[in-house]
């Protein structure tokens, strides 16, 4: 089986392999093409990086895949089902859970409650308005486990809004993981983290990726090299290159696009 075989030529192989795909994905903002004719095939169980310079359209891609934005054109398929017309909450309910580039926590709730909000969703605990909130204590053990995984156990009773930026990101990751998603889309999960925490979070993502698929936007190329099986490079809304890290990083067009961009 060749990796470059187009989906049309080998539909059976693609169907077993590809968990999430987008074809001709396009988003236009008042005449400006933020995402232009992007094809993505995310392989089951892989860690797939989406990289590119600022404004390349990475976050917009995430917004399209999770339906926070409606694509102007194109089709999104998840496990054989066309999800192009679904609402974002329905996408999440099918197991595609995203995080946000601007860290998204519930600032006036405690770290524990932030994670419990996610844990509440699958069961009946989300709609029970007649029970005291102590009913949520059955979720504590699992919530504490998740909080510990991201190294926030010392902060568990703190309000999420008080945490420094990097720890908010860690909390957001714990909240995302709480849903046991099939596919996780992480928008710059390491941004704003202290250098020593990056390794810890990278290890966590690697562990969390076992049995699931991860798509991540990441500017730190060391992390990408270390973590990701597949890399898609976007530039001005279009795919510039795709492949494993080595082949992509050798691509002269990619090197040019990243001139002066490559930080550390």
């Amino acid at each position: 089986m060749t990796q470059t075989a187009p989906a049309a030529a080998a539909p059976a192989a693609a169907a077993t392999n590809i968990v999430l795909s987008a074809t001709e994905l396009t988003k236009e903002f008042k005449g400006f093409l933020a995402v232009n004719n992007v094809h993505l095939s995310i392989r089951e169980g892989s860690i797939h990086a989406l990289i590119g310079p600022n404004g390349a359209g990475k976050t917009t891609c995430f917004n399209l895949l999770t339906k926070f934005l409606q694509p102007t054109r194109g089709r999104i398929v998840f496990r054989g089902e066309d999800i192009t017309r679904l609402k974002p909450a329905e996408i999440a309910r099918r197991g595609i859970v995203r995080s946000f580039q601007i860290s998204a926590v519930f600032p006036n709730l405690s770290v524990l409650d932030n994670v419990r909000i996610a844990l509440q969703r699958p069961g009946r605990l989300a709609t029970q308005f007649w029970r005291p909130d102590t009913a949520l204590n059955v979720l504590n053990a699992r919530a504490e486990e998740l909080v510990e995984q991201v190294g926030l156990q010392a902060f568990i009773r703190h309000q999420a809004g008080e945490l420094p930026y990097g720890r908010k990101r860690a909390l957001e990751l714990a909240t995302t993981l709480a849903l046991e998603p099939d596919v996780m889309l992480l928008d710059e999960p390491m941004a704003g983290m202290a250098h020593e925490d990056i390794g810890q979070i990278a290890a966590l993502i690697r562990r969390a990726a076992v049995g699931r698929t991860v798509v991540m936007v990441e500017h730190n190329l060391h992390v990408v090299e270390d973590l990701c099986d597949q890399v898609t490079v976007l530039q001005r809304g279009e795919i510039l290159a795709e492949g494993n890290y080595d082949s992509v990083s050798r691509d002269p067009r990619v090197r040019e696009a990243y001139m002066g961009q490559e930080d550390d």
Binding site: A92, R121, F129, L179
Partner: protein, 325 residues
């Protein structure tokens, strides 16, 4: 260790919430006031305060805990008052059934208005609720059964459950107090429930709640209907207390008044709307006998409060007590 150094950098978090001694003390004092009030203050006045307190608390369930500013709550308050008053006068409904009818009507109206408004955010949400409630106002103005400008007057109070004569002012008072307590505790329960937790999450970060798979529209609509129903409960009881349902109760000024009470008392606090209602009703009563123009005075106080105490009276007190700890 990085975790430990950072842990000391952040201020120690308050202990796990729950029923604190402050809350228990407040509850006991509140209950005593509720029981003793008719012997100290004119009962009809306290009943008016309680009706508006429940109205404001129900409104605050939406504004304070879901972050939705409705500018149309008068429709539920006044609509329930009309239904309650009419069903007693025209059909001889006993008071408890008439109140139930008013409440259910408000809930149904809330479902319709909420359904249409919920898809919009912020100021658009407020404008749609205002527009729809104004439509309802004109229906009330034109429909024959509401009595037009006169309203429905002389509504008999009747006998509660067939044997408690609400014509007796103490009986009436304790009934109103019981209804208020029921509504207030219901709100307290909802706010501190698993469902309430999700409402807070939606208020805090709607996008994130959606990305976790919550159908936030359902939650907002649920909260809207509960808020409308409890508002209707307050309006229906008020119609029995004053034996009157009129256009005043459905006008936009009434929607504005409840916003004012909630903001003055403190958004997102349970006691705030009650304090705000007590303050506004007292002021109106006091000013009614003086020569001051009521709206001007209340407007001035409102502006001063918004400028000086953004969190409202109770919000500021809470913040002060938290700082002292």
């Amino acid at each position: 260790m990085a975790t430990q150094t950072a842990a000391t950098a952040v201020a120690p978090a308050p202990e796990a919430k729950g029923t604190s001694t402050r809350t228990i003390a407040l509850a006991i004092v509140g209950l005593l006031i509720l029981l003793a009030a008719p012997f100290v203050i004119y009962p009809v006045f306290v009943m008016k305060v309680l009706c508006f307190a429940l109205f404001a608390a129900a409104f605050n369930l939406l504004l304070g805990y879901v972050g939705l500013l409705s500018f149309g709550h008068a429709a539920f308050f006044g609509g329930a008052a009309y239904i309650c008053a009419y069903s007693i006068k025209a059909w001889n409904f006993p008071p408890e059934i008439a109140i139930l009818a008013g409440t259910l009507f408000a809930a149904a109206l809330g479902a319709v208005i909420g359904y249409l408004a919920i898809r919009r955010q912020g100021i658009y949400f407020a404008m749609i609720t205002l527009a729809l409630s104004q439509m309802f106002f004109f229906v009330c103005l034109q429909a024959p059964f509401t009595g037009g400008e006169d309203g429905i007057q002389g509504v008999p109070r009747g006998k509660l459950l067939g044997f408690i004569d609400l014509g007796d002012s103490l009986a009436m008072y304790y009934f109103v107090a019981a209804v208020f307590l029921f509504g207030f505790l219901a709100i307290w329960r909802i706010v501190n429930s698993p469902f309430g937790n999700i409402l807070k999450a939606i208020r805090e970060n709607e996008q994130r709640a959606i990305s976790l798979g919550y159908r936030v529209d359902h939650y907002k609509l649920g909260a809207f209907v509960i808020s409308a129903a409890l508002t209707g409960l307050a309006g229906a009881v008020k119609a029995i207390v004053f034996q009157l349902a009129s256009l005043t109760d459905v006008g936009w000024q009434m929607s504005g008044e409840v916003i004012l009470m909630t903001l003055l008392g403190g958004i997102g606090t349970l006691v705030g709307p009650v304090a705000g209602a007590a303050l506004v009703v007292s002021l109106e009563n006091y000013l009614a006998t003086s020569s001051f123009p009521v709206p001007v005075v209340i407007g001035t106080i409102f502006v001063a409060c918004v400028l000086m105490f953004r969190r409202g009276i109770v919000g500021e007190i809470n913040a002060f007590l938290d700082r002292k700890k």
